[in-house]
């Protein structure tokens, strides 16, 4: 399908080049909302442990579309559009809470926690044939994977198992193996960057950008990175050991392993388009990103312990999670800064180039070393095809 947005974007012939204009053009952003965020893809919006008790809810946005994710009084998880079934008024304003019913203040229509319309004043004077059962809260398609709640707005999206391809085992491991998690809290930040630049971090940069790796003699190395064939979901697994004696930190607990196996110390599942689940040292984190506009991306870093943790382990995860990853973390604050700087730099002409791990710039691989940047390329290829951008002939 050819589009107006296609005008002027000629994708480079080599698979390791991306035109910078795709990061900065508002018309492309609007098209991405339609084709990707509201298109035939699955998008994680919460983990069920964020709404553990009957009546618990959180609100979130997929693109610009407001959602309520809740657990009803029978314990079932739902995702609703956050708009009254009557005139579309935003139903819930809080970011989270516990409610047995949702009441729209505008005309006092009342919905149960399972989305049924249970009250609407002056019903006798409604249009002929009005029935409450025809006006529940609308729900997008929803599926769950080890507690991770996915939604899609498109009827064309394949079932979740198919869509995940062979990212399933890697995602399961990043979700604490069995998905039995307990929410510790959030770090939320708004980055001044396009969502694709936020998304384009790689395995190459880690020991180079993050001085902590060098200064702590923190060894990565052995591991695997692979991308799925169609969507370019990426799974990383890498070992990670910290030199037992460091003279840099007075409190080395921030980089200590207490429960996780260091030979698989960093596990990360990155799903198209923006979601990341990571289990890094003893941190279990899910990163939900909201593309606000072409220049801004909001990221909610949610952190978890495992339900089987004892009090000491939970405390360790809490102390490590608060200071290690995220917008103020020991080995991630620099990433946040790079997100901003790359977006500024992307206003210059030309293409960005990927080199580390590229064996042949005219084809795509699926297997990579854990410290390659070429693992991002299958995702870029899927993006290019999804957006209908034609590749220049060689």
């Amino acid at each position: 399908m050819t589009l107006t947005v296609n005008q002027g974007v000629l994708w480079p012939a080599h698979t390791n080049e991306v035109p910078k204009e795709v990061f900065i053009r508002p018309d492309i952003f609007e098209e991405e909302l339609k084709r990707i965020f509201y298109g035939p893809e699955w998008h994680p919006v919460a983990h069920e442990s964020e709404v553990p008790k009957p009546g618990d809810f959180k609100t979130f946005s997929l693109g610009k579309v407001p959602l309520i994710i809740n657990r009803d009084m029978e314990g079932r998880v739902h995702v609703f559009f956050n708009a009254c079934a009557h005139r579309g008024n935003q139903l819930e304003t809080a970011t989270a809470g516990n409610k047995t019913e949702f009441e729209c203040p505008y005309h006092r229509w009342l919905f149960s926690a399972s989305g049924d319309l249970v009250g609407c004043p002056a019903e006798a004077e409604f249009a002929p044939g009005f029935q409450r059962k025809d006006f529940p809260l609308a729900q997008p398609r929803m599926e769950m994977f080890y507690g991770l709640i996915f939604v899609t707005f498109s009827p064309l999206t394949p079932d979740l198992d198919t869509w995940l391809e062979d990212a399933q085992s890697g995602l399961k491991e990043a979700l604490g193996v069995d998905g039995r998690l307990k929410l510790l809290g959030y770090q939320k930040v708004r980055y001044r960057t396009n969502w694709k630049a936020y998304n384009d971090n790689d395995g190459y940069h880690a020991p180079l950008l993050h001085s902590a790796f060098r200064m702590l003699n923190w060894q990565g190395g052995a591991g695997r990175q692979y991308a799925t064939r169609q969507h370019g979901h990426v799974i990383f697994t890498s070992s990670m050991t910290v030199a037992p004696k460091n003279t840099l930190l007075k409190d080395p607990s921030v980089v200590a392993f207490r429960g996780s196996d260091p030979t698989r110390g960093s596990r990360l599942a990155q799903l198209f388009p923006t979601f990341i689940a990571t289990s890094h040292m003893d941190v279990i984190s899910l990163r939900f990103a909201i593309p606000l506009n072409v220049n801004e991306t909001e990221v909610h870093y949610a952190y978890f312990s495992h339900l089987d943790d004892d009090a000491e382990m939970e405390k360790h995860r809490l102390r490590q999670s608060s200071n290690l990853l995220g917008p103020c973390g020991l080995v991630s604050m620099e990433d946040a800064s790079v997100f901003h700087r790359v977006h500024i730099g992307n206003h210059t002409p030309g293409v960005v180039t990927f080199q580390k791990g590229v064996k042949d710039p005219d084809s795509l691989e699926q297997e990579f070393k854990q410290n390659d940047e070429a693992g991002n390329l299958p995702r870029w290829e899927y993006y290019r095809r999804t957006m209908g951008f034609e590749r220049q002939a060689l």
């Binding site: 970011t95 989270a96 929410l183 510790l184 809290g185 959030y186 770090q187 939320k188 930040v189 708004r190 980055y191 001044r192 950008l209 001085s211 902590a212 200064m215 840099l248 930190l249 007075k250 409190d251 921030v254 909001e298 952190y303 809490l318 102390r319 999670s321 608060s322 200071n323 995220g326 917008p327 103020c328 020991l330 604050m333 620099e334 946040a336 800064s337 790079v338 901003h340 700087r341 500024i344």
Partner: protein
């Protein structure tokens, strides 16, 4: 327990002023010096949203003196040269103070932090919130036993290099 004296309030305000002056001058060792050198001296930065929801995760959890010392190392050594620097201006207003013991006081102080990134030179609000502190009074000068910055801002407009 005696009521707070004018001298106590002077010591508290002098400490808070020293604290924000150190941060706004990027004097990170000076920031550390405002904390008592006690093993459990702490600086926590979290959001009002997390506090209200009873979620223990923080934006910064330096819950012992060793981590406060490490914060200085993060900023001055590990992160040096990697970030877009920014200048802050803290504005504070003490709103409550109550004695906990003869020489410790619980103090609540509202804050607003304006930040100016060096690259775009445009000043904006970084965050607003309240410090919930425990201050130890001493003749030579007061120090923080614990400092908790609770931000009303639930979504930060930028990554944090410096403590609030």
């Amino acid at each position: 327990m005696k009521a707070l004296t004018a001298q106590d309030l002077f010591l508290i305000d002098e400490l808070q002023t020293r604290y924000i002056y150190a941060l706004d001058s990027k004097n990170i060792p000076g920031w550390l010096e405002t904390f008592a050198e006690a093993p459990d001296a702490s600086y926590i930065c979290t959001t009002q949203e997390s506090v209200e929801r009873n979620l223990p995760l923080a934006l910064i959890m330096d819950d012992c003196y060793a981590r406060l010392q490490d914060r200085v190392t993060y900023i001055t050594k590990i992160w040096a040269g990697t970030f877009q620097d920014y200048r802050t201006r803290h504005f504070t207003q003490r709103v409550n103070a109550a004695k906990l013991s003869h020489d410790t006081v619980a103090v609540h102080t509202n804050f607003t932090v304006i930040y100016t990134p060096e690259d775009n030179g445009s000043s904006e609000v970084l965050t607003a919130g309240v410090y919930e502190d425990v201050v130890k009074l001493a003749d030579g000068g007061a120090q923080f036993l614990s400092k908790k910055a609770v931000t009303d801002t639930s979504v930060l407009p930028r990554y944090l290099v410096y403590p609030l």
